[in-house]
Amino acid sequence: MTSNSVGAVQYRRLDNYVYRLTVGEHLLVALHARRDQPLYALTPTGAQLWERLAEWATVEELTDALVRDYEVSADDAKQDVRDFIDQLESLKAIEARGESV
């Protein structure tokens, strides 16, 4: 699955990461001890997308959420969502279902 696989593809976060807003920072912690890099910092936008990914969501739906809440163009928001999805996939932090178009 890549960022080019949009359309009907839906994403949802896995439970192998823990999110916490801690003293003003959005932290994502990898569960299981042997992962070399246990801790990631999210931007506020990334944290919002992470929360949204508690339920299945498409790139389009995630983009709409950003456009609704931030002063950002749909094109820029979609690119940010794609980049974020790519990063989460590389961390094996999300799962995907559905057909790419």
């Binding site: 823990v18 801690t22 932290l27 912690v29 569960l31 299981h32 801790l39």
Partner: protein, 304 residues
């Protein structure tokens, strides 16, 4: 002077306790009880200072025996390199098999923790001639303490601790950061050193506390002593001694990545981060750029 260069040490003896033994780490008490009431427990004498009376209320009670291991079946939830495998059941109970011997090739202990993590069973394979249960077995005991701390408002971290005038100065760092070096300098300056490698952090009566542990490092006589934390330092060897304050968020992250605790349960991670937040909000943390000299310790304790 009780600190020796890394890799140099005295062979220590073993101590037996008939039928039961309880150990305290920070504010956490773990009770080992023989299933048959008579089987002995055996610990290294370096752990003897951590023994408390068996009637002390325990946070975890383990019913223990020596028997062939009945290793559970089913998929492994998580593994610690080659030294242990964990299986979690649907109710939240856990079975952990710890291995030992050459290349961790032998199943030695089977620990069963009930979902509450307040009771469990420990079975040791009949490998030792005296059939005593090694309550301090590695990595069994350190693993149990680390997991329980995460559920009891505590954390286990790579850090040495120096107690001066009843206040703890905690020196955090990965291996070779200078934890034992700073501990040796502090001890020479008259500080009490409960640990030079692994410190327990807790909150007691709203105050962040640091406690000694028996594990690792070069210090021969570690102690369970604890004290309110005055300062937290992240060690960084340098050519000039100076302190660089860290923000609370930075402090939490630096502390978190130096924890010993396995990140096996989301709730434990959440609670651990919460404890680190509370500590960082109450205790200033700085990066201590230091040369291995008494002046660096003086700077840590009071100087600017």
């Amino acid at each position: 002077m009780t600190i020796l260069p890394r890799g140099v040490g005295f062979a220590t003896g073993r101590v037996n306790y008939a039928g039961a033994v309880s150990l305290r780490f920070g504010q956490l008490v773990i009770a080992f009880r023989a299933k048959d009431g008579v089987t002995a427990f055996n610990i290294d004498e370096t752990h003897a200072p951590f023994v408390v009376p068996t009637e002390t209320p325990a946070d975890l009670e383990l019913t223990c025996s020596v028997a062939a291991l009945d290793v559970p079946e089913g998929p492994v939830t998580a593994s610690g390199a080659s030294s242990w495998d964990l299986r979690r059941d649907a109710e939240g109970g856990e079975d952990i098999v710890f291995r030992g011997g050459p290349n961790y090739g032998t199943d030695v202990w089977h620990l069963r923790l009930d979902p509450s993590f307040r009771t469990g069973t420990l079975t040791e394979a009949p490998l030792m001639p005296n059939r005593a249960i090694r309550a301090d077995g590695y990595p069994l005991l350190e693993y149990v303490v680390a997991r329980l701390l995460a559920r009891h408002d505590g954390a286990l971290i790579h850090a040495s601790t120096a107690i001066v005038d009843g206040r703890a100065y905690v020196f955090v760092g990965h291996s070779r950061a200078g934890k034992s070096t700073m501990a040796a300098i502090a001890e020479a300056a008259g500080a009490q050193i409960p640990t030079d490698d692994r410190t327990i952090l807790t909150i007691r009566d709203g105050r962040p506390m640091a406690w000694g542990t028996p594990w690792h490092g070069s210090l021969i006589r570690k102690t369970p002593d604890g004290a309110p934390i005055e300062k937290l330092y992240l060690l960084q060897q340098a050519q000039i001694d100076r302190k660089e304050p860290l923000s609370q968020a930075h402090a939490v992250k630096e502390l978190f990545v130096r924890l010993i605790q396995p990140r096996l349960h989301g709730m434990e991670v959440q609670r651990t981060l919460e404890i680190l937040e509370r500590i960082a909000q109450k205790v200033p943390m700085a990066r201590l750029h230091f040369r291995p000299t008494p002046a660096a310790f003086d700077l840590a304790v009071g100087g600017e």
